[in-house]
Amino acid sequence: MKPILEIQNISKKFRISHQTGGYLSLRERMVNALKFEKNSTEDFWALKDVSFEVQAGESIGIIGRNGAGKSTLLKILSKITPPTQGKIISRGRIASLLEVGTGFHPELTGRENIFLNGSLLGMKRKEIESKFDEIVDFSGVEKFLDTPLKHYSSGMQLRLAFAVAAFLEPEILIIDEVLAVGDAEFQKKCLGKMEDVSKSGRTILFVSHNLPSLKAICTKGFLLDKGILVKQGEIENVINAYTYDRTGYYKILDSIKHSGTHGKVNNVKINGSDQSHVLLLESKSIHLDVDITFNRKTAFELQVHVKKDDVLVCSFARFVTGSTQIFEPMRYNLEYDIELPDLRSGRYKLDIFFTEPFVALFARSENDVQLEFVNEGHHVFLNTPAYNWWGSVLLEGKMKYNLIGES
């Protein structure tokens, strides 16, 4: 059977202008036409020569760092923007969900928005009418159907939006990180729905940073890096390649996201290195150097989470034991020594949170710092990366024995 989707040598070029703040102005165009010097634009290839095939019924996970070209690929597949080169042959109806609730209008009622959104997503009016009750049921907002959307809570809006999308029935469904929002329970519901969809034999292309859910839903994976398709195959292998690929590539500082003006992190070093990949051989302790500026008086606390496969293994937070220090609005160098428990060999992630507990979380680094722990003593039989038999923490235990008698 022919593949349902053939992507052949797709490239996409964007022209970045260094002068304008976004869109063109006519005056600039005319002025530039009169000037002899070259316009200061730069070509940027969001995708370079990407080719792959998708068979009917496969569910594909597309992985890659921010800016790897995932969203551009989805936009080309959903015909929102044309490729610069290459072509795509599709043998089925494509519906894409690049955002939940596209076209939702705050002045319209829930009922009206269901019809508008459904029709935008490519459903026929009759189709929407026949599924209307199911949609309403799934969303759980039947009480507010005739209330304008602007009076909905954002959670309710999201529910309604996802409910409409969940009843799409195309041959190929394209989904871009739509589950990043909403409460945990609703996310679970959505993921369940998506698993149903993939089991019903439809083809799914799914972009997400949520690796466990990718693992649950997808069978195959594609890894994009800087516009190039670097790996494809079994989802498990692709995810492993991705997590491995991310190590040692950048500074810890680059992965820290600030919010608010509470304070600013100037540098972070772990065991003397500012790189995001930390290798621990035998040693069980990590030493953190934090160069930080506070903009106001702060009861600062550093929190560190150690995670394995998105499961929290252990954490460091001094304020839990009630020993908080208050800092003046100045620049400090803080040093922390953290003793880790007996971890099994393997790869872990460190999440670092810079907080004033219960007041502000003003900077964080999530999923970006890699801790590779090689516990030499148990290395011989414990380092089996494919399957984790023994969990993450090694328990200490003693054994005593007494001889009772002969058998």
Binding site: F14, I80, G92, R93, L120
Partner: protein, 275 residues
Amino acid sequence: MQKDIEYVIEPTEKKFLNFAVLWQYRELFYFFTWRDIKIKYKQTALGFLWAILQPLLMMTIFTLFFGRALNIPSQNLPYPVYVFSGLLIWNIFSTGLNNAANSMVNNASIIKKIYFPRLIVPVSSILVALFDFLMALILFIGILIFYQQPVSWTIFFYWPMAILFSIIATLGLGSWLAALNVKYRDFRYVIPFLIQVLFFLTPVIYPISLLKYPLLQYALATSPMYIAVEFFRLPLTGTLPNMDFVWISLASNVIFLLIGVIYFRRTEDFFADFA
């Protein structure tokens, strides 16, 4: 499951109109129009009445200033009838053009996330203007009865033609400006000015014969809306306009449609990148 669908996504090819795809998405015309009409009159106490009140107030003002004070001739029609007939058909153009030209920018959030033939957006925004027109038309018929205005049976030919030509004129300029507006936001400021200028350059509130120089009359006939205004009034005045003017206006009408739609089609693929 339909198994025989097969289509290709490629770098932009030159094309005029793909009616099959427009037909496939026909329900979106309805939904966009319906949405805009709903939103337009939501939270207004008078609701649809505004569609009637606006031309009515304009008619009153023009009647007082141009009819009474300046005594502009009106082809043997009562001046309010003359002005209202002109304003009515003109409003399809002015409201429609304003809607259409801003439609792509206003719907940018949708355009960036979902594919559908982009032409649906400006066309639907013009249909909204047509809805206003139909509301005001009811009032106009009332005015005709009030003034006991004799009407020729040719009304059943000329009125639909007038409406058709006004839509074509609006779509041509509207889709062109909509596409330009996505790329150059300067046009946002040009549009109200352009509409105002065209209003005075099109014989809406005065007859074209008011101008003393024939050359000037020819120049004004190039307005794509001239033919619509003349045709709309023809069954009332009973006087046939100069056929030269009619042909000139018709030509300009069609030329603007071609320029507008072709430019729109050639740029629409990149709207998502610019919007």
